[in-house]
Amino acid sequence: MQIRTREFVPRATFALHDPNLQRALAKAADGFIGKRAKAIAEVPEFEALREAASARKDEILSELDLWLERFEARVHALGGQVHWARDTEEARAIVLALCRRAGAKTVAKGKSMVSEEIGLNEALAADGLEVIETDLGEYIVQLAKEPPSHIIAPAVHKTREQIAELFAEHHGGPPKTTVPELVTEARLQLRRKFFRTDVGITGANFLIAETGASVIVTNEGNGDLTQSLARVHIVTAGIEKIVPTLEDATLFLRLLARSATGQDSETYTTYSMGPRRADDPDGPQEYHVVLVDNGRSRMLGGPWRPMLRCIRCGACMNHCPVYGAIGGHAYGWVYPGPMGSVLTPLFVGLDTAYDLPNACTLNGRCGEVCPVKIPLPDLIREVRHAQQRDGLHPPAEQRVKALWQRAAERPALYHGLERLAVRLLATLGRKGRIRRLTGLHAWTDARDLPAPAGRTFLELWHAKGRDE
């Protein structure tokens, strides 16, 4: 997927002025936050589950090599194959070679964020393959030639009217007006494609070492149909998806659906373990798991390791005021919102994704809702530190900071400037509010600044001391 993180500011500005997007985002935020809160209120054990999941993930990550080797051995024993990819290029080459070897013409895909990360669709299409996204949201953004804007609700930025127009354009016929009509139309279109697909590609929510299973959760049944009907099942997964046992998968699944969509569990959870058995009446003849590193092993070594706990539920972005205002596309790559503000700079470069962590308000809600207790605000600050160390902050910002530092080191000067500033600002206030600040109107356009009282804290403090 094309990296457009450098366009963050213009894209965010555009998003703020797009009425359709603002309408879609407002609706989505209410839905996600409310549903999650309701689901969690029913589970008094939720906090204990978060604690256990966070600790368990850390244990697993500290033995990641061991569990990956175990997983590989189990997959081989079941007649499947494991492929290791160091980077996106290798991952693409492996999947492409598997498709070629199978003589594939059509590839159906279940939802996979890793496949977005490695730019799989573009690579397959460039090789002449027909690629069909089967998750309804992914299908919609594929028709619109757009990337997903949310990791679990890819078309969350689209209104019903926009989807209706898109379907009319691609499927023909008069535009549909209701949600049931739209869903039925997609079902019928995709049904035919499922049945003539050669290769089915799914992601994995988890990989289980003791059984060699890849686990997917879906509500639509699309990833499940994809792998049931194709001749070849290919799983693309990050190396951090591994868990040792079935009981571990259960621990994380108890958190995943509740955090993502506010459900007890998704409608379908499918554990896939190898190709069709000798006496099976259906299922794929080949089973491949492509394990993608792409920088994850490096993250194990530094302060970023907790980020590898992420189970891709989307709760952090659903609760993020910045994501809620600008949507996912502004972030310019695969992973938006708070988790993306940490992951994207690590994947594509601290420089290239400079703006993402710096757009954060550090309000802390993402860290509070994360089901595996990733300290997201701390990690976002850590990315900013790393950017500072690399000298990536813009020159103007560095100059302002240097000036401030010089003043702050001279208390008399500092307090003098402060006295001047509060008096100046006090004259700008009307009824205790400053409505507009010349030069900073981008800030005051959205909110009022409380006008200062006209004297500094120190002045007031000293005055109070004299009174007593």
């Binding site: 609706k27 989505a28 008094p44 054990e45 204990a48 589950l49 368990r56 990641l64 080797e69 175990r70 189990r74 492929h83 290791w84 160091r86 290798e90 080459a93 070679a97 598997l98 309804l136 949201g137 078309a155 019903r160 949600v179 739209l182 039925t184 003791e210 059984t211 509500n219 639509e220 049944g221 699309n222 499940d224 149909l225 049931s228 009907l229 190396i239 040792p244 079935l246 009981e247 571990d248 259960t250 459900q263 007890d264 569990s265 409608t267 379908y268 959870t269 554990y271 896939s272 373990m273 190898g274 069709r276 058995r277 099976d280 009446p281 259906d282 299922g283 092993s297 490096r298 070594g301």
Partner: protein, 229 residues
């Protein structure tokens, strides 16, 4: 064109060693830690399921998600119920069924195929491996007696569930599964089916304006008949 074949075994082995090497380097050690056999399953927090009656809880959770269910006294009486259900709801009779169900006294004009479902398959009958009361869903093990396509292809899905197979928690199911796969000991992992599928009701999507709509790609209607013998 002399590009190396990405599937070449020597190349694949090198990639594997590089990734594992990078993981170990970043974990600060040289080789994999000594590999203990799989320890006993870890014990994690569970979600309290205080209900006395698991069947009742299971039905409550199942029906909260758009599925329907009914209780019948015996497995054979499920047939009578399904005939009446199809008539009452104006549904076509099933054309596919799990092999172990073929022995039931189906009406003479119902012809049931135990093979995989095809693009025109409207309706199928399956037998669940278990129900899980915790969330109110069903588990299936794929195999010759339970084609996986029956779960996802038809518009209407009927499922027979033995009340005695409803377990409280997922952990109970995993224990049962391990025993079921290797009842006389031996390695249960050698006998795993291709898939373990959990189904929690009709297929659904919220991808158009967060509005929940049933029947996205899988069955639109899922009706469970619970029997006890």
């Amino acid at each position: 064109m002399n590009e190396p074949d990405p599937l070449d075994p020597a190349l694949a082995a090198r990639r594997r060693d590089t990734v594992l090497g990078a993981i170990r380097r970043n974990l600060g050690r040289d080789a994999a830690p000594p590999a203990p056999e799989f320890p006993l399953p870890p014990v994690h927090p569970r979600i309290a399921v205080p209900d006395e009656d698991l069947v009742e809880r299971w039905r409550r959770r199942w029906e909260a998600r758009g599925g329907t269910s009914a209780l019948v006294p015996t497995k054979a009486s499920a047939v009578e119920h399904l005939v009446a259900w199809c008539r009452e709801h104006d549904l076509p009779p099933p054309t596919h069924a799990a092999r172990p169900l073929l022995e039931l006294p189906w009406p003479a004009d119902w012809s049931l195929d135990p093979g995989p479902a095809g693009i025109d398959t409207q309706s199928a009958v399956s037998l669940a491996f278990a129900g899980i009361a915790e969330v109110g869903n069903l588990a299936f093990l794929s195999g010759p007696e339970s084609p996986v396509t029956h779960l996802f292809v038809p518009d209407n899905h009927f499922i027979l569930l033995d009340a005695a197979t409803i377990v409280r928690h997922f952990e109970d199911l995993w224990q049962r599964l391990r025993h079921h796969l290797a009842p006389a000991g031996g390695d249960w992992r050698e006998r795993l089916p291709r898939t373990i599928n959990f189904v929690a009701g009709p297929s659904r999507t919220g991808d158009v304006e967060q509005t929940i709509q049933l029947g996205a790609h899988g069955p639109r209607r899922v009706h469970v008949v619970i029997f006890s013998e």
